[in-house]
Each structure stands twice: as C-alpha cells, then as structure tokens.
C-alpha cells in the first residue's frame, strides 16, 4: 500500500500538483538511473561574433578509472531542433572544444547543448556522472570569459539510451527569483534563459510575460536595475552577459 501511495505521489502530474500547492514540493527528479550521465543545458553562442568554448574533464577516467569512453555533445537550436551531435574520443584529463559557426553548419545564433559521458564498454558497477563543466565566450576567438555549469537538466540513461529532463514545474507561476545583483543602467545587460524542464515554462521578468517550450532558450535584453523573475519552474535562473564599452562579462545569476 505504501509503495502504491509513493508511486502515485511521485507521478509527473502529482508532482505538479504538489508544486502548485506547495505541499512537499519537489524541484528535481532525484531518481536518476544508477548508470547515467547528466548534463546542464550549456549555452552556445555564435551570434554577434561570439565563439563559445566548452572545457570539460574526463569524469569517467578521473573518478572511475574508465579509460575507454567518449563524450557526446548534442547541439540544439533555440527552438530545440537538434543541429548536430559531436562525438569526442581520445579524451585527456581536461579537454576543450571550440564551438564556432563552422562547427554548427554555418549557423550564427544561439542555443543549448548537452554533454554526455558515454562508456565504450558496458560496466556492471553503478556509475552516475554529472557534467557541470565550463563554457567560455569570446569575441576575438582567443580569449574566453568562463562560466561554470550549474543545474542538472537532462540525463542520459546508459540502460535505455533515453534522455529525460529532471527539473520539475508547477501549474502556476509561484516561484519567485529576485536576482541578487544590481544591473547598472550605464551597461548593456542580457539574460539568457533555457527551459530545463520537460514542460513549458511560463515566466515574467518584472511583470513582462514570456514562455519557453521544452528545450527552448531565449536571450532577453533588460533595462531594469533589479530583476524579479516569476515562473512555474524550479531552478529557473539565467546567465547574464554584461557589456561595457569594448568589454563584456558573463556570469550566473
């Protein structure tokens, strides 16, 4: 009986009800497979002369001594269309990939990518890794301003080869997030949002409404000193790009 109740209260719909009513809310689906690779939704930008660099550790080698593995980068457009999958072999302890428009078939835009560590040979031991590594952004293709990964967004199950989103939502916009940063009017500020959930995310920024479908991302310019985000999604936080004359900065909010 107890296990049946547990099953019912952990159904997708039930979690949304719990989150809506704020009764034992659940922000993230904790039942990640024992054999899985989880990734943040990392930003790529090739718009406005940006080039992106992704730096990542060989997590399987460092912590599990697995020598035969590769990393798959799944690139999506801002509308969640799969652009390409890049497989990277011969991994070192630390690795990097430059994401230019050439890598993405000439696309000058922005979107997200997911990084999965894939074992080349099946293992019986429990191995569940999480890529929260680092993306850098450059205007001159030489010097990159870096920001770390933050949220568990999409998980790849080694058993089933399925990918699932982990972040949960509610039916109404009942999650408030006031950014602990003062945005100066003398600078240009952009906030980059990605939808980390499997459901649509409805949100407003200081009262202005937006919507992101599953996997979508959006770059939004802001002119306010203070930013309050109201959404129906847990862990819905942007990455900020701040520009001042010829310099720019990127950071998590």
């Amino acid at each position: 009986m107890k296990s049946l109740i547990r099953k019912i209260i952990n159904l997708d719909f039930s979690i949304q009800v719990r989150n809506t009513l704020n009764i034992i809310p659940k922000g993230i689906q904790k039942k990640v497979s024992n054999q899985s690779s989880t990734s943040d939704a990392f930003i790529w930008r090739t718009d406005n002369n940006f080039t992106t660099k992704f730096k990542f550790s060989d997590i399987l080698k460092l912590y599990f001594k697995i020598k035969k593995s590769h990393v798959e980068l799944h690139f999506y457009s801002k509308f969640n269309n799969l652009i390409t999958i890049k497989k990277i072999y011969d991994l070192d302890f630390s690795n990097e990939v430059v994401i230019s428009k050439n890598l993405l078939g000439g696309i000058e835009d922005y979107g997200v990518f997911y990084a999965y560590h894939i074992m080349d040979e099946k293992k019986s031991q429990n191995i569940s890794v999480n890529n929260k590594c680092y993306t850098g952004f450059s205007k001159d293709k030489e010097f990159y301003s870096f920001v770390h990964g933050n949220t568990l967004v999409r998980t790849f199950d080694y058993y089933t080869n399925n990918q699932n989103e982990l972040v949960q939502t509610s039916f109404i916009k009942n999650k408030n997030y006031l950014i602990q940063k003062f945005f100066y009017s003398s600078e240009k500020n952009e906030l980059f949002f990605t939808n980390p959930a499997s459901k649509s995310v409805k949100f407003d920024i200081n009262g202005k409404n937006f919507k992101l479908k599953k996997g979508h991302s959006k770059l939004i310019s802001i002119n306010d000193n203070f930013v309050k985000i109201r959404s129906n999604c847990f862990y819905f936080r942007p990455i900020a790009f701040t520009y001042n004359e010829k310099y720019f900065d990127v950071y998590h909010c």
């Binding site: 460092l62 070192d92 870096f146 770390h148 602990q180």
Partner: protein, 256 residues
C-alpha cells in the same frame, strides 16, 4: 550563514554588492552589514552599513575592500552570541534553505586597464571549521592564450589566525609536484600561474586548509573570473563522497 569577501592588489581591485533580500524576494528588515577582521589573535567586529543603496544592497567600494576583512549581514541582537575567539553562526539570514539558492553577493573585479568580471560569491559558514584539501583542475577555466592567468584562493578559517599553508600544482600523469605557493588562512591569496602549467594533467591541490579556488585571466584588459566546482558535483552516485576521497588521496599522496 555566509560570509562575503573581496580582493585588492596592484593589478586588480574589487567591489561588493551584498543584497538585503533573499532570492525568493524576502527582504531582511533592520539588517546591518558587519565587517570582521583579525587583530591581536581575535576576531574584531565593526558595523559597516554606511552606504546602503536603494534599500536593496549594501555596497562595499573598492577602497573598503582588502584581502583580510570579511563581511556578513545580521541584526544588532545577533552580537550577543558573537565570540572573538571563533566564528560561529550568528543568524540564518543567508543560510541555504530547502529548494532554495545560495545567498550570494556580487563580487566584481576590475583591472586597471579597464576590463571587469564578476561572479555571485559567498563563503558558507560550514566551510570555516574545515581542515582538508581542495583539488581542482588547472585547465578548467584558465586561458592558455591569456597574457596572464592567476589563482585567487580565498580561505576563511574559524579561528582568528593567519597560518601558512601550501598550495601545490601537481602533474597527475607524472605524479609529480611541479611547483607550490605559500598561502595563508583568512586571506585572499593571489598567485600567477605560468603558462607551462596550463595543461590537462595539472591539478591544484591545497594542503591542510580548504578554500574557494577562483581563476582570473587577463588579455588586453579583458578579464575572466570564475571559480571551479568541487569534484563531488561531478558524481551522482550515492557513494560519491568516498569516490572523491579516493581521488583526492591519489593527489595527496603526491604532495605528502
């Protein structure tokens, strides 16, 4: 409870914006910004709320930032619990809550040439009693093509002491120490990293004390600043603490 900090030297200055509200929008009434410094082997506390801005932030200018002093927010009544011989939790205003976010200040570093970089920073109280080792990949957020790369290693330790400890650069392939820096507790330590160490096999390993490893790189006035995530954040296994301990042991054997 979180502490906030900055850095100041002949290359970089920094300023802090410490919010008076939680991320969920709850404002903290009647709060005061306090500064803590070490004097005569004691923690000395003083009020520092002289420039509250728009009732949203405490603003700490670069002229008030140095490598020793740290900041926290609280209320007058919290001072009854204050101890000069050890940092303790004085309030829970800035503590992490379930399903919540870290309470962070904006630490913005400027270089004389004009560039800037910031990160949402905090030093959680729970790190202050910890003695141990930090391990981080040197190649993660450094720039090989930069003019200069630096490590900014912040330690806040519960006791009012400035004790020296070593931070090593270790080659994991050769299992060798490549170089080391002399750091001290309760200080914003700052070292230049030579280009020859910006390689995939190089790891930074601290001995005896933990801290937050923040990397700063600079080229033509543009700067990048970011901290690295702890190794446990890379693993979701239930035994991840043991897995990371094993990995750290491998590196600690090289420095011991």
């Amino acid at each position: 409870m979180n502490f906030f900090f900055g850095i100041q030297n002949n290359l970089f200055s920094s300023k802090l914006e410490i919010p008076i509200f939680k991320n969920d929008g709850t404002f903290l009434e009647e709060t005061i910004l306090y500064k803590l410094k070490i004097q005569d082997l004691e923690w000395k506390i003083e009020i520092f709320d002289k420039s509250k801005k728009n009732n949203f932030f405490f603003h700490v200018n670069s002229s008030d930032v140095n490598n020793n002093d740290i900041f926290f927010i609280g209320r007058h009544e919290n001072l009854k619990k204050f101890k000069s011989n050890k940092l303790i939790v004085l309030n829970e205003f800035t503590s992490l809550v379930p399903h919540g976010y870290h309470y962070r200040s904006n630490l913005r570093v400027n270089i004389n040439k004009g560039g800037f970089s910031s990160y949402q920073s905090d030093y959680p109280y729970k790190m202050t009693p910890v003695k141990g080792s930090v391990v981080t990949s040197l190649a993660s957020v450094t720039n090989f093509n930069a003019d200069k790369n630096y490590i900014f290693f912040k330690n806040i330790y519960e006791l009012p002491i400035q004790e020296n400890f070593k931070i090593y650069i270790v080659d994991l392939k050769e299992k060798k120490i490549k170089t080391f820096f002399e750091a001290k507790t309760n200080y914003s330590n700052f070292f230049e990293i030579k280009k020859e160490y910006i390689l995939p096999e190089m790891f930074l390993v601290s001995k005896n004390y933990v801290g937050i490893p923040i990397y700063i790189s600079e080229k033509n006035g543009q700067i990048s600043m970011e901290h690295t995530n702890p190794p446990t954040s890379n693993i979701l296994n239930s035994d991840r603490i043991d897995i990371v301990k094993k990995f750290k042991r491998e590196l600690n054997e090289i420095i011991n």
